[in-house]
């Protein structure tokens, strides 16, 4: 059954790569990430699948907001190839890269090393994670306990991308105020009413994911993105951009500093050995901080795109 899903997966990826029109690319990419999330789920990784779903819907939104601007900007386009080209000409264009990648893939498969997976660390982690970090979800306890150092840089990556987006979008921060932009409302009253009913559910569900991250699937990142999507709904309902970017950005950075300090206090300095009774509290508060950080980051990027990159 998994193989059939994987075949669908590859098909949708090929569709996304070969498509010529931008709107088709976006739709195929959405299908592709849907199916890949299901595949992750089938591989026994609901955390990764959740992250993929949340992230892919957000990156779709980012792409769409940017592409709207892109069409207004780009004027210099190389002429389209005429449609009545001979098949042989097309083949001569496409064949060399195909052969090249086929040779590469063949070499790759020829050299795949023998042997099954070495489960040294897996066994160690599955045996020890409850004792060493706590929690019921091994994945959470790895990325908040054993490898929290990586998670720190992952949070830093989001922070840097927020800073980069804010720096590179065209206008400066002083120009921000709600009236400057004439947003076009495309949602009608049916949409607005329905989304109004739904969006508290998003917030609650995000909280649920964050608070239950250490015992079941989910965690700071997934919950944070769910909370951020609540603010996308806010945009869809009220069509406003009055977000205080400067303040949210400072908050985001302070949250990051809090994550770093908490992690270094608890893990690096070894408090988890001395106070085993607050481990659960540590996991929950860490998840909450990460969720805050992630949702702040995504809110800034989204509103920045909406307000500055659009028309």
């Amino acid at each position: 059954m998994i193989y059939v899903l994987l075949i669908f997966w590859i098909t949708s990826a090929i569709l996304a790569i070969q498509a010529r029109k931008l709107i088709r690319i976006i739709v195929y990419l959405a299908i592709f990430s849907t199916i890949s999330a299901v595949c992750f789920f089938m591989f026994g990784a609901p955390d990764v699948a959740m992250a993929e779903v949340a992230v892919s819907s957000f990156s779709t939104v980012f792409m769409i907001v940017c592409f709207e601007k892109y069409f207004t900007l780009v004027t210099d386009v190389s002429p389209d190839a005429p449609k009545d080209l001979k098949f042989r000409y097309k083949l001569s264009k496409i064949l060399p890269p195909v052969v090249f990648t086929l040779i590469l893939a063949g070499l790759f498969i020829y050299f795949i090393p023998e042997g099954t997976v070495n489960t040294y660390l897996k066994d160690l982690y599955l045996e020890r994670f409850r004792f060493d970090v706590g929690g019921e979800n091994a994945v959470t306890s790895i990325y908040l306990g054993f490898r929290v150092y990586d998670t720190l840089f992952e949070a830093l990556m989001l922070l840097i991308s927020v800073v980069g987006v804010a720096h590179m979008s065209c206008r400066s921060e002083h120009e921000i105020s709600g009236e400057n932009f004439s947003g076009v409302t495309k949602s009608d009253s049916v949409d607005v009413y329905t989304i109004r009913i739904i969006c508290p559910a998003m917030l609650i569900f995000g909280m649920y994911l964050v608070l239950n991250g250490h015992v079941s699937a989910g965690g700071g990142f997934q919950g944070g993105i769910a909370i951020a999507s609540f603010f996308i709904c806010r945009y869809l309902i009220y069509n406003v951009y009055d977000v205080r970017y400067g303040k949210i950005m400072s908050f985001e950075k302070m949250t990051f500093a809090a994550i770093a300090l908490l992690a270094s206090l608890f893990i690096f300095l070894g408090f988890y050995v001395q106070f085993p009774q607050i481990r659960t509290a540590y996991l929950i508060s860490m998840n909450m901080l990460i969720a805050m950080k992630v949702s702040f980051g995504f809110i800034i990027i989204f509103y920045r795109y909406i307000a500055f990159e659009r028309r």
């Binding site: 150092y149 840097i160 800073v163 590179m168 950075k253 690096f268």
Partner: protein, 556 residues
């Protein structure tokens, strides 16, 4: 304790960004960098005295946590990073770059230190990815025309290369079940040779792009020589950032001990060295010339690392150390010159000695260093690189050095002669950009003011770097013993011989420059050689296939 070296700069950066004003940020930054340099040197002495420090973050048993390691090599690089960033902070003290610049600078520093200290393969991936994004934002910091393309090119190629690396990491995990470098090396040494080929090829493709060996170097001149990137960023990129690639190259080789790829990289490194200077000769832009010369020096370092002799390895490490010093000095000097003269074209800049004797002297010191003149640090490192090699490799290395001399002959033509102010050219430029006459006058006035006094902080920064170049030559063997714990001594006769060779090649280089290179229309055609993005991706695939074929079939 080691984790603090990585976390503290980030925390300082966040503190500066959120609380401090732009003016206070500079002062705090300088103080913090000074303190940090002191700490890094202290760490170096600790390691030298008591041996390598190895800490597992969180004190988890076995390899469950991430393990940091500070041995002699990594602490040398950490100290180098701290010194370079201190100089960079000093250099850009009087520029109005804003808080964001300092924030990114600090974050970049901590990421580089993280790469040098970590022993975990996945952690390397994360750090390199973040560093790529930070660098691309810094390259585009001025949001100018050309740097956009350069930054995007750098970011995309870097990310794709790291996907190769990550794939190889997956195979290492599958084979060994761990992500730690040394434990993985231990387990892999007991395995069959044929099973190591694929992970090695994947990982070396990623690392190879990061250290810009031959088919994969096209991003380097774009990123390092991007015209409108801040000068400090170019200096640090060529000075320290590229060394992180070299460092990873040095760390990856011992993991695959069974798979001796040194012959392959000997060839690749030599070709890189030759191609680097051949392309550098064709350039007329100061920054691009320096960037291509970096490619050539990287080729030299890779070659000498692959020879496998103890002396050459030490020489390569010392050369990497020296290269960051003189390249930083050269880039900073080039930044000042291009600002003062208002152009980046080498043929338009003349008479630096006459106008700014001090700056000219420092640049000349750095040039002597990079060409390997006697009594300078370059000569010591190049002496050790050539120590005990077979004759053809020696001659190839001398040939690469000759190329470097030609390149820097071209560079040093700026220092001599007399400068005529080409007012007309400047105004034509200004008119094309649509600036009003008033603005134009204002601009030239500013230019003149700037010309009369180069700011003190810039002079201090660049002078320290030049001085270290000189000291590194005089106390060369002591430095090597001190830095890398390798007992070496400079043989007087051999050194004299090298001096003779240097003198001969200087004469030859100047003659070749005078009669062959200058005004050669044929070379101008090669100036714009560029694979483009698609070409780079194809080159990545081709390099990957070449490593597989060579290691799997030819060298089996």
């Amino acid at each position: 304790m080691l984790a603090n070296f990585v976390i503290t700069p980030i925390l300082i950066a966040v503190f500066l960004y959120v609380f401090a004003s732009a003016k206070a940020a500079k002062i705090v930054a300088i103080i913090a960098q000074t303190a940090f340099t002191g700490l890094a040197v202290y760490l170096f002495f600790q390691v030298k005295q008591y041996g390598a420090i190895i800490t597992s973050i969180g004190n988890y048993e076995s390899v469950m946590g991430i393990i940091l390691r500070a041995d002699t090599l990594s602490t040398v690089f950490v100290a180098l990073t701290a010194i370079s960033f201190l100089m960079a902070a000093l250099y850009s003290y009087n520029e109005n770059e804003g808080k964001l610049f300092w924030f990114l600078l600090f974050v970049w520093q901590s990421l580089l230190i993280g790469i040098f200290l970590t022993r975990d393969l996945f952690n390397v991936f994360v750090l390199v990815e973040v560093a790529a994004v930070v660098v691309s934002v810094l390259i585009m910091y001025n949001r100018d025309n050309r740097s956009m393309y350069d930054g995007m090119f750098y970011l995309m190629t870097g990310i794709i290369a790291m996907q190769f690396y990550l794939f190889g990491l997956g195979y290492i995990y599958r084979l060994t079940g761990v992500l730690d470098m040394e434990v993985a090396a231990e387990i892999l040494s007991g395995l069959d040779r044929s099973s190591l080929v694929l992970p090695y090829a994947l990982i070396i493709t990623g690392v190879g792009l990061k250290c810009a060996i031959l088919p994969l170097f096209t991003w380097l001149p774009k990123a390092h020589g991007s015209p409108s990137a801040p000068t400090v960023v170019s200096a640090l990129l060529s000075g320290v950032h590229i060394k992180s690639g070299i460092y990873l190259f040095m760390r990856v080789q011992p993991i695959f001990q069974e798979l001796d790829a040194s012959g392959f990289f000997l060839v690749i490194g030599t070709i890189t060295g030759i191609a680097g200077f051949a392309l550098a000769i064709c350039q007329t832009d100061i920054k691009l010339l320096l960037a291509y010369s970096t490619v050539s020096q990287i080729g030299l370092i890779i070659t000498s690392l692959s020879i496998g002799n103890e002396y050459t390895t030490t020489g390569a490490m010392y050369h990497a150390f020296n290269h960051s010093l003189f390249k930083a000095a050269l880039f900073m000097g080039a930044g000042i010159l291009s600002k003062v003269y208002g152009t980046r074209n080498i043929t338009d800049i003349r008479g630096v000695f006459r106008r700014f004797p001090f700056l000219g002297c420092v640049i000349f010191l750095a040039i002597l260093g990079i060409t390997g003149a006697p009594l300078f640090n370059g000569s010591i490192s190049k002496y050790f690189i050539m120590y005990g090699t077979t004759w053809y490799i020696t001659w190839l290395l001398i040939f690469i050095n000759l190329g470097t001399i030609i390149v820097f002959t071209k560079f040093s033509t700026m220092l001599f002669g007399r400068f005529e102010q080409k007012e007309v050219v400047v105004s034509a430029n200004a008119k094309r950009k649509g600036e009003t006459d008033f603005h134009h006058r204002d601009k030239t006035a500013k230019l003149r003011n700037y010309a009369e006094s180069i700011p003190v902080n810039k002079q201090v920064a660049i002078a320290i770097l030049g001085l270290v170049c000189f000291l590194g030559g005089i106390f060369g063997s002591e430095f090597i013993t001190f830095l890398f714990n390798v007992e070496v001594s400079v043989d007087a006769a051999g050194y004299l011989e090298k001096t003779m060779i240097f003198a001969v090649s200087v004469v030859a280089g100047i003659l070749i420059y005078r009669y062959v290179v200058r005004d050669n229309a044929f070379l101008k055609r090669f100036r714009a050689i560029d694979f483009g993005f698609r070409g780079t991706c194809a080159a990545m695939g081709g390099f990957f296939a070449a490593v597989l074929i060579v290691l799997g079939f030819v060298m089996n």
